[in-house]
């Protein structure tokens, strides 16, 4: 894990991908150099003390030569609404990189990447890294509509992408869980990496247990410090006496490490 730091990052670009999804690119050379796939940053989203807490966003891309870091996010409430109004040249406070990202090692393995909705944000960074190690990637991507399969074309550079949408406007109509079952039937994988809503993570967790394929899951939880200091972001560990901090022991957990609540 790279060295964590607090930065004031200049906005290079703010792109609206649809009515409420944005791609924010910040000038943050140290972060770009240090970040690992699956890590996140805590971003200050507001001018006064309301909102007070920073917002955790996964690192979508880190371009170390350009010194740029990108975040793919959906406007959900007050904080992301504010963030979406930041324009080129303005500044955003940012703490990162944070957390334990995806673990991978070795060359030329075969992996299944599963992402749904805006939860797919960390997959691009991961796919790029894995492709660099000559991994073969099968990437399952779910979204509401064709239009919200934001990183599809970028991901296609690193592996084979299978898309599915709620309305059938791209791929079949359905959930990414359907693609998961099929993929596991048809192929064999050394690893599964998943991020997205709870039902997707639960399906991957079950599949991992059933088939004995190691899986890593990226979790979300309300956060305050992002550094492991406040104990605010815990989830239940499989060892019932242990509460795990999503920001420190995660956000990426081995599937068997955690109990996923509904």
């Amino acid at each position: 894990m790279g060295q964590t730091g607090e930065y004031t990052a200049r906005v290079i670009r703010q792109e609206a991908l649809d009515a409420d999804a944005f791609l924010l690119t910040l000038e943050a050379p140290e972060l770009a150099a240090a970040a690992q796939p699956g890590q996140f940053a805590m971003i200050g989203c507001g001018s006064g003390y309301d909102p007070f807490l920073r917002r955790p966003l996964s690192i979508h891309r880190a371009q170390s030569t350009a010194g740029a870091v990108s975040f793919l996010y959906r406007v959900r409430g007050q904080g992301t609404e504010w963030l979406a109004t930041r324009r080129q040249g303005e500044f955003v406070p940012l703490l990162g990189p944070l957390g334990r990202g995806f673990r991978f090692a070795g060359n030329s393995r075969r992996a299944l990447l599963v992402g749904a909705g805006i939860g797919a944000a960390p997959l691009l960074f991961l796919a790029e890294a894995l492709a660099g190690l000559n991994w073969t990637l099968n990437i399952l991507l779910g979204a509401r509509t064709a239009h919200s399969l934001f990183c599809r074309s970028a991901l296609e550079r690193y592996g084979r992408v299978h898309a599915i949408t709620d309305d059938g406007s791209a791929g079949r109509r359905g959930s990414v869980n359907a693609l998961l079952q099929e993929a596991l039937k048809k192929g064999t994988y050394a690893d599964i990496f998943a991020c997205g809503p709870q039902p997707v993570l639960q399906a991957v967790q079950r599949a991992s247990a059933d088939r004995g394929i190691p899986a890593q899951l990226s979790l979300e939880e309300n956060m305050a410090c992002g550094l492991g200091a406040c104990m605010g972001c815990t989830c239940r560990g499989s060892d019932p006496s242990r509460m795990l901090r999503v920001c420190a022991e995660g956000p990426v957990f081995d599937a068997e490490e955690v109990i996923l609540d509904d």
Partner: protein, 303 residues
């Protein structure tokens, strides 16, 4: 540059900026972000005799200019603390204050005895935690019960005993007097306000524990008022806290009568808050030509 040194209950600090228990982990968590040896003192997350898993369910809920927390004293227990955590914590070269919480007087006494000689510089008695069922809150709202636990702990340890009070009482001055009479060497003011939030989509309380403790800038005026009232009534130093985010905020507490301040929730808004506060205080003293910063303590009512 102004010398900000101060001594609280016999604990010497290079400056009056501490961290608030539970918001800063054990120091190591923030050390990558800034040099924690610049702080006046470190204060641990609340320690219990045995390991404690804390509360289930959602533990944090943001509110206007603040947050509710219901962590519930998750900590590895005093043994693991002393064995595995304290050495690293002491390595920063600043005093370490152990925040302790028990369900009974006996537990507080056992904690105090175990920590005596461990290398901590002092104890902060948390008799004001709104997030635990037993002890905590009840002990902290009744002057007699509060005095009894404080007296027992003072008796049991050679360490200076700082008592942390809750603002959720009718008469914080009476409570402060009672624990000072019982031997408290200093007071920490304030712990969180008891609050609750409801998720209107689910129709249920937002936090797993139902109620939580409110902290952050939202509560600052309540905290400054508590310091103002108590500082005029007792003769021990006060560590002020509650929503301190800037040097300006810290000065409010100092002018109201605090001899030191603790930074808590502010770390969540700006991880560098404490460092900036130290620098702000130095600048303020320089700008105002104040030779001994301690003349500011309580100046709002002394002058």
């Amino acid at each position: 540059m102004t010398d900000l040194a101060v001594s609280i209950a016999g604990i010497s600090m290079s400056n009056p900026v501490l961290v608030a228990s539970g918001t800063f982990g054990y120091g190591a968590e923030y050390h990558p972000v800034f040099d924690v040896s610049r702080l006046g003192a470190l204060v641990t997350k609340g320690l219990t005799l045995r390991p404690c898993a804390g509360n289930p369910g959602r533990r944090l809920c943001e509110t206007p200019a603040g947050l509710l927390n219901a962590i519930g004293l998750q900590n590895p227990g005093v043994e693991v603390f002393i064995g595995d955590i304290l050495p690293a914590m002491r390595s920063y070269g600043v005093p370490v204050i152990a925040n302790i919480a028990g369900a009974t007087d006996e537990e507080y006494v056992a904690l105090a005895e175990r920590l005596d000689g461990s290398g901590v510089a002092g104890l902060e008695l948390n008799i004001s935690c709104p997030n635990v069922q037993a002890g905590g809150m009840a002990l902290g709202t009744d002057p007699c019960l509060a005095a009894s636990v404080v007296a027992a702990v003072v008796q049991a340890t050679s360490l200076p005993v700082i008592v942390k009070l809750t603002p959720n009482v009718t008469d914080i001055v009476g409570l402060a007097r009672a624990v000072v009479d019982a031997g408290a060497a200093a007071l920490s003011l304030i712990n969180t306000l008891l609050g609750l939030a409801i998720d209107v989509e689910t129709g249920r309380p937002a936090l797993g524990n139902i109620t939580g403790g409110l902290s952050g800038p939202a509560i600052r005026p309540v905290a400054v008022r508590a310091v103002w009232q108590v500082a005029q009534a007792v003769d021990v130093p006060i560590i002020g806290m509650g929503g301190i985010c800037t040097g300006r905020d810290a000065l409010e507490f100092i002018l109201a009568g605090a001899s030191a301040v603790a930074v808590g929730s502010a770390f969540f808004h700006d991880p560098l808050a404490a460092v900036k506060i130290i620098e702000d205080l130095e600048r303020y003293c320089d700008r105002k030509g104040i030779a001994d910063w301690r003349t500011l303590i309580g100046a709002a009512w002394k002058s």
